[in-house]
């Protein structure tokens, strides 16, 4: 899928409409175009956000694909560009190219159990898929959302997680790697939750996003539970520059993550996923 702009290398100006500080190092930006309406995007896609004078970074959409008024991104402050983006305030301007990349298989998941597994900031690229599924809840079987975080203080989108968990038609579990005694939820790694959920492994579709190690363990646990690799989708992260499959910075074996990903069907990348130094 290519960019909606006529020239994919030219960023459009967007105004920061709202800033939400999710945690000490994670910020959500609501962006509205300086002119016109935002392009339509689908769950799983990303934009190149340009912090003027600093540089560009690929950031997945974290908002509702059905919201035609704004584009939402959640950024963790880990480098020069993301640091600059994290410091933006309402009214600031940012450059945006996109949307780019492949999408979560929310269409083919229709009629099936949906298992969404997020680790840390990986919840942000999955949130559009969750919005999509929940706004069309009747089209799916069981909806299972498993979230792993470092500790209770790092839980992303806590308010929404609590709302989703309170629904009777969603099974949502949050686990943290460690906690103090005041935390009454799960403690342990997110792949350990998979075996307990008892979904229909013969037909379920799984969507996994998080650090690559967490995805590796999660894929193994899904496979152990009986989910075929062609029904497991992961979102890969590589250093993306051009975002349209020209420059090669994000090469992942025979794939370019910007063009063939970031969402990839696991059976198609299983071999290179297990290869070191790729």
């Amino acid at each position: 899928m290519i960019a909606a702009t006529s020239d994919p290398f030219v960023p459009l100006r967007y105004r920061v409409a709202r800033v939400t500080h999710e945690s000490a190092d994670t910020t959500t930006l609501d962006l509205v175009p300086a002119e016109g309406t935002p392009p339509v995007f689908r769950a799983g896609q990303f934009n190149m956000l340009y912090a003027f004078g600093i540089g560009e970074a690929a950031i997945s959409m974290s908002g509702d694909p059905d919201d035609r008024n704004r584009i939402v991104h959640t950024v963790r402050n880990v480098g020069a560009v993301s640091s600059a983006l994290s410091k933006l305030e309402p009214g600031c301007t940012v450059g945006l190219r996109g949307p780019f990349g492949t999408v979560w298989p929310v269409e083919s998941a229709s009629g099936r159990d949906v298992v969404i597994i997020a680790g840390g900031l990986g919840l942000a690229p999955l949130r559009p898929a969750i919005y999509h599924v929940l706004s069309r809840r009747g089209q799916f079987g069981r909806v299972i959302i498993l979230v792993g975080m470092r500790n209770p203080g790092d839980i992303l989108f806590r308010h929404e997680l609590e709302q989703w968990r309170s629904r009777l038609d969603v099974e949502l579990e949050v686990t943290v790697d460690h906690a103090d005694a005041s935390w009454h939820g799960n403690v342990g790694v997110v792949p350990a939750l998979i075996a307990r959920m008892g979904f229909d492994a013969a037909s379920a579709i799984a969507m996994v996003c998080g650090p690559e190690i967490m995805m590796r363990f999660s894929v193994n646990a899904l496979a152990d539970a009986g989910v075929a690799l062609d029904r497991i989708h992961v979102s890969m992260e590589r250093n993306m520059k051009c975002a349209i499959g020209l420059c090669g910075h994000c090469q992942f074996g025979p794939h370019f993550v910007c063009k063939d990903g970031p969402v990839m069907r696991f059976d198609q990348i299983a071999r290179i996923f297990a290869t070191r130094e790729i």
């Binding site: 790092d154 906690a179 103090d180 403690v187």
Partner: protein, 154 residues
């Protein structure tokens, strides 16, 4: 009324255990109930009883001086609490606290060790069940230690 032997036979941990061996194990077992906040055992105490959780949740904690105890795992129904009873010097290396009213079957470890020494087949069947639990928890602990959700040092 369901006997302890019935409960153990239905528990996933003992799936496939020969009926005679099940009877032997249940001879070392008793029902144990813990209110929320009560400790099943504390670090340093003799590991002379381990627990099969029937209902409830148990936090495994490590205490450090001057800090609140850190919870590193939470176990629920169908899981086993404690393996230090298998390994000399048979002492617990962490605390186990019920985080909600928790019903368990407590199994007398000394009793079971004695029966396993006398009947190595029983000991082998128990180890076949404990080793996967230990390996799984070791792998999960490795993943926790990697702190994968933390900021990259790069």
């Amino acid at each position: 009324m369901e006997t302890i032997e019935d409960t153990l036979r239905q528990h996933s941990f003992f799936t496939g255990l020969d009926a005679e061996l099940g009877k032997t194990v249940s001879g070392c077992a008793r029902n144990r109930r813990f209110d929320a906040g009560l400790y099943l055992f504390r670090e340093g105490e003799p590991a002379d009883e381990f627990f099969v959780i029937k209902h409830g949740a148990v936090a495994l904690e490590i205490a450090a001086p001057g800090q609140a105890p850190m919870v590193f795992a939470k176990l629920g129904a169908g899981e086993i609490v404690g393996a230090s009873w298998l390994v000399p010097p048979y002492r617990w290396t962490f605390d186990a606290r019920a985080v909600e009213p928790t019903r368990t079957i407590g199994i007398d470890a000394k009793c079971l060790r004695g029966k396993s020494e006398a009947d190595n087949h029983l000991g082998y069947e128990l180890l076949k069940r404990f080793i996967p639990v230990l390996v799984k928890r070791l792998q999960e602990t490795r993943l926790q230690m990697l702190d994968v959700y933390g900021k990259s040092d790069k």
